[in-house]
Symmetry: C2
Subunit: 385 residues, 2 copies
Amino acid sequence: MQDKLNLMIPGPTPVPENVLRCMSKHPIGHRSGEFQAIVKKTTEQLKWLHQTRSDVLTITGSGTAAMEAGIVNTLSKGDKVLCGDNGKFGERWVKVSKAYGLNVKVIKGEWGKPLHPNQFKKLLEEDTNKEIKAVILTHSETSTGVLNDLQTISKYVKNHGKAITIADCVTSLGACNIPMDEWGIDVIASGSQKGYMIPPGLSFVAMGERAWEANSHSDLPKFYLDLKQYLKTVNNDSNPFTPAINLYFALEASLSMMQTEGLNNIFKRHTRHQIATQAGMKGMGLPLFAEENHGSPAITAVMPKNIDAEIIRKSIKDDFDILLAGGQDHLKGKIFRIGHLGFVNDRDIISVVGALESTLHNMGKLQSPIGQGISATIAVLNDQQ
Amino acid sequence: MQDKLNLMIPGPTPVPENVLRCMSKHPIGHRSGEFQAIVKKTTEQLKWLHQTRSDVLTITGSGTAAMEAGIVNTLSKGDKVLCGDNGKFGERWVKVSKAYGLNVKVIKGEWGKPLHPNQFKKLLEEDTNKEIKAVILTHSETSTGVLNDLQTISKYVKNHGKAITIADCVTSLGACNIPMDEWGIDVIASGSQKGYMIPPGLSFVAMGERAWEANSHSDLPKFYLDLKQYLKTVNNDSNPFTPAINLYFALEASLSMMQTEGLNNIFKRHTRHQIATQAGMKGMGLPLFAEENHGSPAITAVMPKNIDAEIIRKSIKDDFDILLAGGQDHLKGKIFRIGHLGFVNDRDIISVVGALESTLHNMGKLQSPIGQGISATIAVLNDQQ
């Protein structure tokens, strides 16, 4: 049905109506006092979201731009880095690091399985000459729905004493607890079209004290992504380059909604929806792709047996106007991914589980009596009120 | 008055209501067929606007990102480039070029005066070893309201045979005639919040055949701004990274409006408004800052005598809800700048001239009998119907 699509992909995520309305306001001058007030407010709100006293800088660009900014602002050519790679986005940070001539040691993980913190621990402990300058990893691996153990890995990095942690929290920030200062994460990158509940176009880089210290001797070339320029201007409630003004209007509105809901409530909501979704899949006999207990609160990947995942996905879109994500690269046709990130309520969860159950039933592919999936989902939602 | 502000700065420019409405549509999946149709359509529209058969690529970022993309995708470390610098943005391209280790020969021009094409001609002709790889310049210098002679300079670059022309057309594209193919410009960078009539957040890089040839041996590091990735995906009507989807909705709508108006009508409208604005300033005895016959059709800079330009600017904003731009750097307080770029009609021109005349009169600073400015403006508007 026209204009009835519900986005249950891991970004862009659904946008609240009052945030959408902000998008259609007439732009104001980006050097005006009115706009400075918005930069000042959103910068404070971003610090709240990151649970940090460090600087959080806003870039007009995608999450990849934010990650690249984290890398090129803290490292130098030839620097040795460890790069976790257990999915499409881990792969991407390897590519970015290599594009800038870093000496990359890739810590591989199987797609669908988490990175092993001990592999990082071992290499960091063995590095007595302190050659490792950074550990780069994805927290919530969007391509597989796996949540890597950022807390433990960043602890090992801290113990190393020299290296910094650069974390892609694009689909985890605003979905689960990431206390930047408490965990000692040095760089966090994120993007607007995810937990932030606004359309794509803005991305964010939080830079801790040790990241700025690393910045002081970083020699990688940069200009648009030169975070020192962003720091200098954000201290005057401004931007170095013309920012996406309307997305700033949206950002202010969505972060205000998030503050009203409260961080703990937001995290609890995501976990509850994650468990309810997982229960629904198990109830109808659909295997989860991510290893047990390592699923992301933002996204659940499902690997149906004996049926092309793309056929399910197309059916769900055509019949129920729910957009699910497909598998990427070698997982195309093998998995589909349900996004439950951002502006998602119980109705969304019930509807996607019900729609899947109906679709499989109609295809004659349901492994269990109809109703088992949705019952399991409802049970979780009722239990965890 | 609240929500009554008229933007007459050189960006962001006013946005038509139907384009603003597109901004508040719910995002759709950026890998969906629906979005591919938009990428396909806007790519064709962008080629129309650039009067080119070359590739025009869309980046989520500011005009600076587009210029940086043009530079880092065509050049290599140590490459000799000529960089025109007669204003804030010329200065910026010198900084970008130096940040990437290029060997920059700066061709200086006084602020308010155009670059001298003969300076480029001489250096290009003397370069018999063909060491100059690129000529980088700003077409419409936003900081001063000067239009540089891109056509002549790019002709000299073509005669050189090796170097390419990288042009910042951020405030000239959509305001005056820039036939990319006919003039042989190799790279054109532009931004959405200007002649495009949409809010900031998208920028565009047109890459001609010789630019791609230069790209094949460019060694500057890049990832988010790696145009090869954009080319590969745009050929599938897609983007390498999550784009600012809502700005794409707006882009499609505004380019359709522009196509309905027609390129020649758009250019004629801008020239007519430029002449009418200039006439108004002269009529009320306000000196123009840009050298005679070298003004930009996008912006008129004015240098009032015996009065701080910032005081005029504040008055015009407070009393008439018209936002003018101030002077940058050493010109702060010395000039103000009237943007007549993009979605501007005769009413806007009449109102800004009238408001200025009223303001100066009330301040006792009007150099001529009241009404001379607006009469001159009206005469031009009537003459050039």
